[in-house]
Amino acid sequence: MFTLKKLLTASAVSASLVIGLSAVVQAQSLGIPINESQLQDFDLIAQPDGSGYPQGSGTAMQGKAIFERRCVACHGMTGEGTSANTRLVGGDMQSEERPIRTVGSYWPHASTLFDYVQRAMPADAPKSLTSDEVYQVIAYVLNLNGIIEDSLILNKETLMQVEMPNKDGFIDSSQAL
């Protein structure tokens, strides 16, 4: 049943009468309104334009200690990896032979490193790092690749300015038929 309360809710959020009417026709409008502020701990999306980066900061020097404690089992002491999939450092997209693709050689956006470590790493305990620790550990990985200085304080402002070597290496095929 489409209750009066639901109808009022639908009308209140509608920009026009037309949308209010279409909600009536659909006879279902069961989403519960929520505010973006209620999603701050839930939304982990960090984009290249700087949206979604939390407060916090860290340097490569700080990140080294975390990396050596939490990451080396898969990624090796200096990011050399334990397999092609876990190698984080080195490689060259323009090499004569088959290119080795790593964070340093392949990833086009530094934001991806933040986003991925925050949501999925370390693999045995995802989401266990604080925001400071995420900034620290990705500063270390970027520094191992020679992309940032070891003294750089990585935070939401400086992360946005990090340029990855392969930033122009990708072609958006999303509209290809």
Binding site: G31, I32, D43, I45, Q47, M93, I171, S174, A176
Partner: protein, 423 residues
């Protein structure tokens, strides 16, 4: 019936597909099994034991025959450094028809299968919308739904065929990351419309509730098309390995963007460039540029029997069968060759093929004990023709190993052994 009446339609034993029906099996049986002309004196049929005692009672939840327990997905060994990561492959060589049983549907997980209580699960739609909304599972069940039959294929399926040497593999191990099912759910546009998408929104960013919080960005125009929030698979709630209680389903597109355990859709101007759409699932070309967001899966077919690692025990007539699919339409034609692609014959496919669904094909083939190379070649409703492996690898290179859809070659030797080859 004599051999002469079976119309040969291509070299090396391919027989007109019309012999599958009508004339079909009786004629084929006569040709294939001349030994049955004389009765076997040792074969006296008796009433079997199971016909002499009552069987098991009806049950609350069914199980398969214990004689079919060898039908299993092929899962890799667990990697302690990648807990929950990995895949399991459908036993294509043992399956028939075009629907995969839910228990044998392929899986690919990035951090294992979460154990989600639907009463606690939330789906949030937010970002560039007039009103951010949160939906419960119970409420979502009340929305109008649609049911559609679609294939789902991992973009890494058949990836080993990019390699320089043919792997010793089966249809399952080489191509088992594809399955077909009927999916039931809510058109995603219904829910996006309810939240009210702002005109500046261009992408949805979909995130799952698994430990990896796996995310993918999808253009809004595609998301508003035939994408659904899938709640049921082949009539039952989507299984945990497929995203229970709900997953995104993006028909025809690489499986990874049909985000499982869906919990968040954020509308944005730009894509997030998640790890699984930059580091992974991207296609580096020979010029070292990499294509990103390569969604539709190519026009493709594979012969599932006879197929790799099988053995033809005797000469005679076999049903060559397999599956074909396209991310851009329905399957209009499947041709089969028994001589490595020099001559081709049309296989039988069902007349009404669904868009972006598996099509089963069949054609009779007489194996006379010689060498043969079996291939299949699909054409879709848009006129796309499945390429040879050579042309695909020449065009794409093999720096990346996603989106392989070239022609598979199964060689049959004089001993009847079937093997993956490059032909």
């Amino acid at each position: 019936m004599s051999k002469q009446e079976l119309e040969k339609v291509a070299a090396n034993g391919l027989i007109n597909r019309r012999h599958l029906l009508g004339l079909g099996l009786a004629g084929m049986g006569t040709v294939a099994s001349t030994s049955l002309l004389g009765a076997d004196a040792g074969l006296n049929l008796e009433i079997p034991g199971w016909s002499k005692a009552p069987g098991a009672n009806a049950s609350g939840y069914g199980s398969r025959s214990r004689f079919t327990d060898d039908m299993q997905r092929m899962a890799g060994n667990p990697n302690p450094l990648y807990p929950g990561g990995g895949s399991s492959r459908s036993p294509l060589h043992q399956l028939h028809g075009s629907i995969t049983p839910n228990s044998l549907h392929f899986e690919r997980h990035h951090a294992g299968i979460p154990d989600i209580d639907p009463a606690q699960h939330k789906l949030v739609i937010h970002g560039l919308v007039r009103q951010p909304l949160v939906f419960s599972y119970e409420d979502l069940l009340r929305y109008p739904m649609v049911s559609k039959i679609y294939f789902l294929e991992c973009s890494g399926n058949s990836g080993s065929l990019f390699g320089p040497n043919p792997a010793d593999g089966s249809a399952q191990s080489l191509h088992g990351l594809v399955s077909g099912a009927e999916w039931t759910g809510i058109p995603l546009s219904t829910l996006l419309d309810e939240a009210g998408v702002y005109p500046e929104a261009r992408w949805i960013n979909a995130v799952g509730a698994d430990a990896a919080s796996m995310g993918r960005s999808i253009p809004l125009n595609r998301a508003m098309d035939d994408v659904m929030l899938a709640l049921f698979q082949n009539g039952e709630p989507v299984r945990p390995g497929q995203g229970y209680p709900m997953r995104l389903f993006v028909p025809g597109c690489e499986g990874n963007i049909s985000v499982k355990w869906l919990t968040q859709i954020k509308l944005t101007r730009e894509p997030t460039h998640f790890r699984d759409e930059t580091s992974k699932y991207t296609d580096t070309r020979l010029d070292r540029k990499s294509q990103q967001f390569t969604f539709p899966m190519g026009t493709k077919s594979v012969i599932t029997a006879p197929s790799g690692q099988m053995k033809l025990e005797r000469q005679g007539i076999y049903q060559v069968t397999g599956i074909a699919w396209s991310g851009r339409g329905s399957i209009r034609r499947v041709e089969v060759s028994a001589d490595g692609g020099r001559t081709w014959a049309d296989a039988m496919i069902d007349s009404h093929q669904s868009e972006k669904a598996l099509a089963r094909f069949r054609i009779p083939w007489q194996w006379s004990g010689g060498d043969a190379v079996l291939q299949s070649r699909a054409t879709d409703s848009q006129g796309n023709v499945q390429p040879t492996r050579t042309s695909l690898v020449t065009e794409k290179g093999n720096i990346s190993t996603y989106h392989f859809h070239g022609i598979q070659s199964w060689a049959v030797n004089t001993a009847g052994d079937v093997a993956n080859v490059y032909a």
